[in-house]
Symmetry: C2
Subunit: 147 residues, 2 copies
DNA sequence: CTCCTCTTTTATAATAATTATCAACCGATA
DNA sequence: TATCGGTTGATAATTATTATAAAAGAGGAG
């Protein structure tokens, strides 16, 4: 989706960001895709319009956009592998800030409402769900960084 | 949790794995922790019992255990950042094998059943949920690798 | 137990994603 | 025009993970 520079300036301004050309093109590339894209992927799109843009600029701006709430992060876990020795089916509660994971034993999925929205062929025989929120520590404004 | 070598051999055997000492100690370290641990973290525990173990061995065995179903992966997303330009609250359906993400618009969380299990202080005011399963392509045995 | 074969382990190098550094640049303003 | 603070971009650094290949170990046959 293309925006006028005025439109983008409005959006950026509302989030406390200067409206640079690079920023606008990165933002448009994400919005236009209607998908769930990676920085490399966005970089590829953006280069069609700004061939000499730096990959670092794409990363910088994506990170800024996520931090300021213009974009949502689709991979909100810890960045590194975590494993669980508990094989009993259970769900997880994940803190969006510090990434801590807790078990949730409850059975809280309403399959009657979920089923009609599952695409044909998708296998949900043993569904595992993660619910994201903010843990108590992180809810306070002086929250510490993830370990 | 400690196991006799015989007990571990039984477990490993059932999953088609040879029962080496390193494997047993790595496995015990994960199970004993009752948590959601990283390879580095597990490595630190294991070194207390096998000081000269290689980090690669820890990684190798964790990966094997996950592949063979002795452990569950807590971070089943694509390993790299993905962003979403759609800020309308919505949930995601994630393929555990190829990591593809699709939107789910349905409202399928039964808060009555979930609420009693949420720890005190956890902020769920705008809950975002991810449901994991297998997409149609990946459900077939000849599924291709993630892009 | 001994020998054999195949697997696993280990040290190390390689790869890949992301972040840090910092000089050059830009646009607004005095 | 000179200045100033934020931004960009080339590049180096960092971090997590995987690949490589030689040495050690596991398990099975005899
Ligand atoms: Mn768990
Ligand atoms: Mn989405
Ligand atoms: Zn937290
Ligand atoms: Zn899939």
């Amino acid at each position: 989706m293309r925006l006028t520079h005025k439109q983008f300036r409005e959006i950026a301004w509302n989030h406390g960001l200067a409206a640079t050309h690079q920023r606008q093109v990165v933002y448009e590339a994400v919005i236009a895709s209607h998908g769930h894209r990676s920085p490399e992927d966005i970089y590829a799109s953006v280069r069609k319009r700004i061939p000499h843009i730096s990959l670092a600029t794409v990363y910088n701006n994506i990170r800024l956009f996520v931090d300021r709430g213009l974009l949502r992060e689709v991979t909100p876990h810890a960045a590194t592998l975590r494993v669980d020795g508990n094989l009993k089916p259970h769900h997880h509660l994940v803190c969006s800030r510090c990434k801590a994971v807790q078990d949730v034993e409850a059975d809280f999925i309403d399959f009657k409402r979920l089923a009609p929205h599952i695409p044909d062929g998708f296998d949900l025989t043993r569904p595992v769900v993660e619910v994201f929120g903010l843990c108590r520590q992180c809810r306070t404004k002086t929250a510490r960084k993830p370990k």
